[in-house]
């Protein structure tokens, strides 16, 4: 991985301090070879002032400011799209797991931040919902720049969650969503598959687009432990003693079955399902979003 793309490596991102900067890095890396979105919104909103640069349209000069301060500044306006994007980030106990430098929760936050940044660039309104067995934190969708900073700040300060219950937060969100939009679920989906699928299907039934990023650690995907050990669940603290060499095949079969089931049932419901390995770059996720966005 070279050039800007290397910044899509989660391990590299982990060494970058600010989540804002991480998001920028990721998005710029992904977008470096893509076209800008041609979409325009139906309304504009003042965003900020900046120094006038020769070549800027004179219509954008703020004459009142010039009259008061003798400085040439231009007004910047942001477009607001009609698409509300809801980022649902799982912060349950199981998301705290990480077999390398990046935990699933870190990865989910990077991804959420990057998506938020990208959505912001796309002039989409972005909202954030953190959940474990219920909605822990919720920021309503908005396309304002200040809102983006609020989303990023919220992502940086997310509390630690407890047990996972994906279905309940989905039901809660479905009740409060007033209009169609985009729901992005970032979770390890270590929950009862029936509940998860049922919860996601209700968005599709309302016409809401849904992207599911199934975030799993490489160890969860490949189970490369060896020898006997006591495996302790992060959420329930229940323990299972097993010899990894003995149970590996059974486990991988069960995990593959779970992934295949999600892929099959969610795909059948018109839901974009993407399995993400926390050791892999984030571009797949962003590309998936842009691909979906290009369809809407």
């Amino acid at each position: 991985m070279a050039g800007p793309a290397r910044y899509l490596d989660p391990a590299v991102l982990a060494r970058i301090g600010s989540l804002d900067l991480k998001a920028r890095t990721v998005v710029e890396g992904v977008l470096s070879g893509l076209h800008r979105s041609p979409r325009r919104g139906f309304s504009v909103e003042f965003a900020e002032y900046r120094q006038y640069i020769p070549g800027d349209p004179l219509t954008l000069l703020d004459w009142k400011v010039y009259a008061r301060s003798d400085r040439h500044v231009v007004k910047k306006f942001e477009e607001e799209t009609s698409l509300d994007c809801h980022l649902l980030v799982d912060i349950s106990g199981s998301m705290a797991y990480g077999s390398h430098a990046v935990t699933k929760r870190d990865y989910a936050c990077y991804l959420a931040a990057s998506l938020a940044y990208l959505m912001h660039r796309q002039r989409d309104a972005v909202g954030l919902i953190a959940f474990d067995e219920a909605i822990v934190q919720r920021l309503g969708p908005s396309a304002r720049a200040t809102h983006l900073r609020a989303v990023l700040l919220a992502l940086e300060r997310l509390p630690s969650g407890a047990k996972t219950n994906v279905a309940r937060p989905l039901e809660d969100l479905a009740r409060v969503m007033s209009k169609r939009g985009l729901v992005v679920v970032i979770s390890d989906l270590l929950d009862r598959p029936d509940d998860v699928v049922r919860g996601l299907r209700q968005f599709r039934q309302r016409g809401t687009d849904v992207i599911v990023f199934h975030v799993l650690d490489p160890q969860e995907l490949r189970f490369q432990f060896d020898g006997a050990a006591r495996f302790r669940d992060l959420e329930s603290a229940s323990e299972v003693f097993a010899d990894a060499d003995v149970v590996r095949d059974d486990y991988l079969r069960a995990m593959t079955g779970l992934i295949d089931r999600y892929r099959r049932e969610l795909g059948g419901a018109g839901i974009d399902y993407h399995l993400l390995d926390t050791s892999q770059p984030l571009d797949l996720a962003l590309t998936s979003y842009l691909t979906l966005r290009s369809r809407t």
Binding site: G93, L190, G227, A229, R230, D233
Partner: protein, 637 residues
Amino acid sequence: MFGLGFLAPAFLAGLAAVAVPILLHLYRRRTDRVVEFPATPMLPEAPVQQQDRRRLRDLLLLALRVAALAVLAISFARPYVMGDDPRLRASATVVVVDTSLSVSAPAAWADVRRTARAAIDGAPVGDAVGLVAFDDRGRVLVRPTVNRADAVTALDALTPGAGGTSAPAGLGVALDALAGTPGRIEVVTDLQQRSWSGAASMAVPADVTVRVHPVVVAPGNLAVTAVSREGGVTAVVQSYAPGPRTVTARLTVNGRATGQRVVELAPLAAADVRFATPIPAAGVASVAIDDPGGAAADNVRYLPLAPAPAPRVLVLTAEAPESARTGLYVQRALEAGADLWPVDVAVQDGRAFSADASPPAAPAAIVVVGTRTLDRRGRERLSRYLRDGGRVLLSLGPDVDVPTLSDAIGLNVRLAPEPVTPAADAAAIVASDPRHPVWRQLAGSRSALGRLPIERFRQVLDESGWTVLARFAGGAVALAERDVERGTLLLFASDLDNRWNRFPLEPGFAPFVIDVARYLTRDAEGRLAFVLPVVPDGVPATPGAHTLPPAEGRAPATVVVNVDPGESDPATTTLDAFMAHLQPGDTTSRAEADDRARAREEQQRLWQRGLAVLLLLLVVEGVIGRAGWRRRAAETG
């Protein structure tokens, strides 16, 4: 521990080694690799069961290894089961409870039980606890046992009696119950002033602690202390109350109330109560008073109405009494006490005794002061009398023919051929067993025995088979007793005729002779009134009128048993005076206790069983451990 003793308890320190497998087990448990893994619920269940099995196996192996080490250490310590044998225990406590008449007042007895219970409960942890009751005699109610409930139960069932107070009797039995075990004797008594009557002192092993718990007997006891046939029936009612008392005395004759008198009693005084009523010549009369707050058994006293034939005592001399006056001192001593203890005394020389072919009524006892003139028939007659249950006091004076003595008494007594003249300081007599009835009056007075001027005596060379009742200060036997078939033989090693000693001239002579005669005739025909604790065979040792069962040459008769009036007196001695009678003796031989323990261990050989168990444990441990190793190898492929 569990009734176990150990010959080599130092090896029990090896029990600390059981910590090694336990620590290893805990260390291994702590080092089990723990992996936090969110998809744990997706792991298959089967290995969990395997782990449960492995944990169970590990715990079983741990238990086996710990048990093996423990068994090894215990086996090396040479264990043995002590059971209830107090001699094998490190320490024991015997609670000695006074059940005499003097503590039988309700308040006093409640105090006795409460104090005794506290003594049982307060025995040191680990001590075997026993219970002894005593009045005139001591009796073991519960031998020292680890089960203290036995002592408590026996105490709850205990009731006071009508006997006297003999502290040495209780302490002696308590020491016997301890059987050489170090420990303590807790005496619960009212310190009645007669507690040590008849006993100068008692040796207590140095490793036995005697503690006395005095109970208080409130003054105020009333007692009927004497009944006689003077002027009908006359009774003596004694008050030990500090103030004047009025009491009604009732006369009962052969079960019928015959009269009653109101008696005014001055403080601490006695009053005669006379019932001038015609009294029949047979049966039993009794005089009773009411004294609910005092001792009960002394509230009534019984009187036999039939004339009591005195027991017959024959004094056998070598020469005819008219010519030599031998036996005179014994005869006079017995006659001098006839007022208190009637006795029919006869003196007969050896020739007459030998020639008397008719079978007269056998004397209750024979005092032999000379055998020199007994011919073969006489010796055989005397010997048969003794073997058939007769009682003989044999005085080894100058008139005793030593070569024919064995024929006369049917027993070979090894005596020195010539009389011994003791050194002046070796002439005193020391009672070996002051509790014996023959010392009733003398043993309490050291001077009466210690100053006896003994000039010559015959030395008993072989004491085996004899119970020595007194010794000369030099250690030779002075008075000894033994059974000769059904009879009883008392042997006095000197003279009773004022020839080898001046004992017959001493004031203690008459009491000695009377007590010996009373002892020898204790169940003799003719005596109808007895004072506890002396009762004839077949008569219960309880106050009242009883039937003396018939015996050979004796018809059944009605006898009465009364309490000792001296026991009614609540006067007590001091604790210091009581304790002064206890003399420190030798420490119980630890070696003896060790020998007993070693013998018990040799008999049980528990260490061999322990090693067998150890071997079995190791085999089982090996089998389980190997099975586990195989299973694990199979699991890991």
